[in-house]
Amino acid sequence: MLSGEEIINQIKEGNIVIEPFDEKCVGANSYYLHLKDELVIYEEDVLECKKPNKTREVTIPEEGYILRPGELYLARTVEYTETNHFVPLLCGRFSLASLGVTIHITAGFGDNGFRGTWTLEICCIKPVRIYPNMRVCQVCYFPVVGSEGIKYKGKYLGQIDATASRIYKDDEFSK
C-alpha cells in the first residue's frame, strides 16, 4: 500500500489525480476525501435490479442533515479522482464508523483506470447528523500486479453526480 508521501509522488508523476488536492489531507497511508452537500434517495418502495429506480435529491444544509436508519443515501465525494497503474481502495473513517455510519456496502475496491467522483452508499444504525464538506472517507492505493491491458470502461466511468445503480444495463438484463 502506498505511503502518504508516495501518494504525493504519484500525483506529481500524473498517475494519480485528486482534485482539489490539499497536502493537509494526506494521511500516513491514505488521502482524506470530503462529503459533497448532495444526497440521492431512492423513492420506490421496492427497488428493481432490471430497471432504473426513481430517486430524489436532498441538499445537506450548513446546519447538518439527520440520516435515519433503514434508509440508503447515495452521496458523493467533493474530490474528482483518476487512478492509473494503482488500485484505489475507498475506506470509511473510524470517526464516522464509530458513530455507526457506513459509507460503502461493498469492499470499496475501485478499478485501475477509474475516473470520476466516488459515489458513497451511506447507511446508519442510529439517527445521526452529518454536515457538508466534512472529511467522510479516505482513499488508499495498492500497486497492481501483472499487465494492465484490461482497464475500467464501465458504466460509471467519468461520473460526477452521486450515481444510482445502473445494474439494469448489465448484459443479463438488457437483452
Partner: protein
C-alpha cells in the same frame, strides 16, 4: 500481504507489536484478535458528528451478553498493537460473519504509526450472545511502499480503553 509466518518473524524482530501475542492465534495471513470485557452504547437518540455523544458502559458477564439488532456496540480488542512498519487492516472472522455479526463499519484499514487497542463497531442481524475473550476479528498487514515520515498521530493514539468517536474535535479547524 504478510503471511502468518512473516507476522511471527516481524513480532520477533520488533517490527510488529501485538500484546498479548499467542502463536496459536496466527492464521495463514492474519492474526486473530479477542474481545475485551466491556461494551459501550450511545445513549443519545440522535448522534451528531459535531458533538461529543454520551455513552453507557456494559460489563460482559462470564455467561455472555446478548446483542440486539439495530444497536451499535463499541468494544475493544484485548490486544494492544503498534504498527510502525506495516499497514494494519482488521476484519471480522468468517465464523463471526456467518452468524450475522459485523465488527467494523469502516473498511478496517489502519495507519502507520497507530498505537493502541482496536475499537470494534459491532452490530448484529439477529439477537446474538457474545462472550468476553472470544476470537472476534483478525488483523492483516500490508507492506508499505514509499517513505513514511507522515505517521498517524491523531486523537485515538496511545489509548487502551474503548474509543468513542472524536469527530467533534476535527470541526472548526
Amino acid at each position: 500481504m504478510l503471511t502468518g509466518e512473516e507476522i511471527i518473524k516481524a513480532v520477533e524482530n520488533g517490527d510488529i507489536l501485538i500484546e498479548p501475542f499467542d502463536k496459536n492465534n496466527v492464521n495463514p495471513n492474519s492474526y486473530n484478535l479477542t474481545l475485551g470485557d466491556e461494551l459501550l452504547v450511545y445513549t443519545d437518540d440522535v448522534l451528531d458528528c459535531k458533538k461529543k455523544n454520551e455513552t453507557r458502559k456494559i460489563k460482559i458477564p462470564d455467561e455472555g451478553y446478548i446483542l440486539s439488532p439495530n444497536t451499535l456496540y463499541l468494544v475493544s480488542t484485548r490486544e494492544y498493537t503498534e504498527n510502525e512498519v506495516y499497514v494494519p487492516q482488521i476484519s471480522g472472522r468468517s465464523s463471526i460473519g456467518r452468524i450475522g455479526l459485523t465488527v467494523h463499519a469502516s473498511c478496517g484499514c489502519g495507519a502507520i504509526g497507530f498505537k493502541g487497542t482496536w475499537t470494534l463497531q459491532v452490530s448484529c442481524v439477529t439477537p446474538t450472545k457474545i462472550y468476553k475473550g472470544m476470537q472476534i476479528g483478525q488483523i492483516y498487514y500490508f507492506p508499505l511502499i514509499g517513505n513514511s515520515n507522515i505517521r498517524y498521530d491523531g486523537h485515538y493514539n496511545n489509548k487502551r480503553e474503548i474509543k468513542t468517536s472524536m469527530f467533534y474535535e476535527q470541526f472548526d479547524k
